[in-house]
Amino acid sequence: IFQGKPIDSETLEELEETLILADIGAISASEVVDHLREKARKGELGESGSVREFLKKELSSLLGAGQRLVPYGEKPFVILAVGVNGAGKTTTIGKLASRFRDQGYSVLLAAGDTFRAAAIEQLEIWGERSKAQVVKHQSGSDPSAVVFDAIEAARARGTDIVIIDTAGRLHTKSPLMEELKKIRRVCDKALPGAPHEVLLVVDATNGQNALKQAEIFNETVGVTAIALTKLDGTAKGGIVFAIKKELNIPVKLIGVGEGVDDLQDFEPQDFVKALFD
């Protein structure tokens, strides 16, 4: 098959262009292609049948095995959803709550976005749709107080899962990132060890800035998983390679639409295949 034969430069250029267009990043794309060229030169492309297939295997292995977002340990299992404005946090929470309900868990939602117009109303509608309780305070109140009450309520009622909605915030705004740190501390105060999962919601249409988002949110509150939304569009979300490589944060969920059922587990092989569609 490929025994120490060089790959033609046109194929390599096409592959590099595909990777860049998928938002993998210019430097990452050229590193991947250089690695590919070197493998071909050494005759190490193996039986994969084509350069493209070899590349798909390499990229899948970069992402590792698919990881699931599953509650564990003592209840309530607390999930803190964070991310920049408009990424899809509230919608993802609604979908997740519905999925957990279908799996037989009881769910409580904390309306931690006390800032944005109609944020609480929006979450309440998702609460109705997913049959999850919603703990809320007045708009404009301290989000940490809502979070504390929500976890207390879940403990009192024996609720299985608490999902906390927070206001969208750009990672460049230090007062807002400080507020998020406080929310995290309050979770732990209300229930030592909480939050058990910090879910960073990332819009697949974002470019290289998504890596910065992941870096800063991770630095601030420690991110354990990514929900990559709006993959029903044409953006590929290739930035997740850099996020995995640099920060070792896995994508656990993907959003593929606005409906309550439009949430899927992240399957690395399907994701890689879609890069080349």
Binding site: G25, Q122, G207, Q208, N209
Partner: protein, 292 residues
């Protein structure tokens, strides 16, 4: 920074007098990388690079600048000219109301920007009416009503309605009877590849016959900016662009891609969540930001 990188790749040029072939290739490689890292679309970068090459080749290296500075200057000038002039004007219609339709992807900032724009018109002495035409997103109507209340601007809505066409037809009547000279219509977020929603938007536009269709785009948008802009431009038709969330640290290369594809002016930038955070667009500042 790009200036430092270009200095490094071009320093052997000093005193050579003219920018030649291999010199420019090394410099262009750095420029292309900077633009790609800034999220400018791959194909847009390719075309841009070609234009810079033509402009830079054979140019006399001015004594006052190093070759690196020379190339940065050419690139910056070309970026500014591509980004278009500072033009925050929305022309008013001779027959009121001036109808402005806000369109774009999910979460790009349409609802917030609708309110921001309405506030600006009110400050200029106009009587704007906001129209809540997003019947899809949970509490979208509440969101616009809440914003309208904050700035004392009426919002037309019909919560029980299932049909955006009915909503805009009724809104137009309301604008006339209420003597509103500006009507800003917020629409639901939609994907450029959702045929039925793009068709719906087309029908809404036909009924509204807006003076201005504004494409609201998130400054963090990556390579996909070209696909999105092309579809909205070709299927719906747009008159202007607003880039939101420019208060973050996204380099904003999507601005160049969207400009290239649509050839329409960027009119405003959103620089924050609060309702007074909308500014006119200035190409030179954005050019420096994209270049890094």
């Amino acid at each position: 920074s790009i200036s430092e990188k270009l200095e490094a790749s071009l320093k052997k040029l000093k005193g050579k007098g003219l920018i030649g072939d291999e010199d420019i290739d090394a410099a262009l490689k750095e420029v292309r990388l900077a633009l790609l890292e800034a999220d400018v679309n791959f194909k847009v970068v390719k075309n841009f690079s070609q234009r810079i090459r033509e402009k830079a080749l054979g140019r006399q290296v001015l004594d006052s600048l190093t070759p690196g500075q020379q190339v940065v200057k050419i690139v910056h000038e070309e970026l500014c000219s591509l980004l278009g002039s500072s033009n925050a004007r929305i022309a008013l219609s001779p027959n009121p109301p001036t109808v402005i339709m806000m369109v774009g992807l999910h979460g790009s900032g349409k609802t917030t920007t609708s309110a921001k724009l309405a506030r600006l018109f009110k400050k200029e002495g106009r009587r704007p009416l906001l129209v809540a035409c997003d019947l899809q997103r949970p509490a979208a109507i509440d969101q616009l009503i809440t914003l309208g209340t904050q700035i004392g601007i009426p919002v037309y809505s019909a919560k029980e309605s299932k049909d955006p066409i009915t909503v805009v037809s009724e809104a137009m009547k309301k604008a006339k009877t209420g003597a509103h000279d500006v009507m800003i219509v917020d629409t639901a977020g939609r994907l450029h590849v959702d045929d039925s929603l793009m068709a719906e938007l087309k029908s809404i536009k036909t009924v509204l016959d807006p003076k201005e269709t504004l494409f609201i785009a998130d400054a963090m948008t990556g390579q996909d900016a070209v696909n999105i802009a092309r579809q909205f431009s070709e299927q719906i038709g747009i008159d202007g662009i607003v880039l939101t969330k420019m208060d973050g640290d996204a380099r904003g290369g999507a601005a160049l891609s969207i400009r290239e594809i649509t050839q329409k002016p960027i009119k405003f930038i959103g620089i924050g969540e609060k309702i007074d955070m909308l500014e006119p667009f200035h190409p030179d500042r954005i050019a420096s930001r994209i270049l890094g």
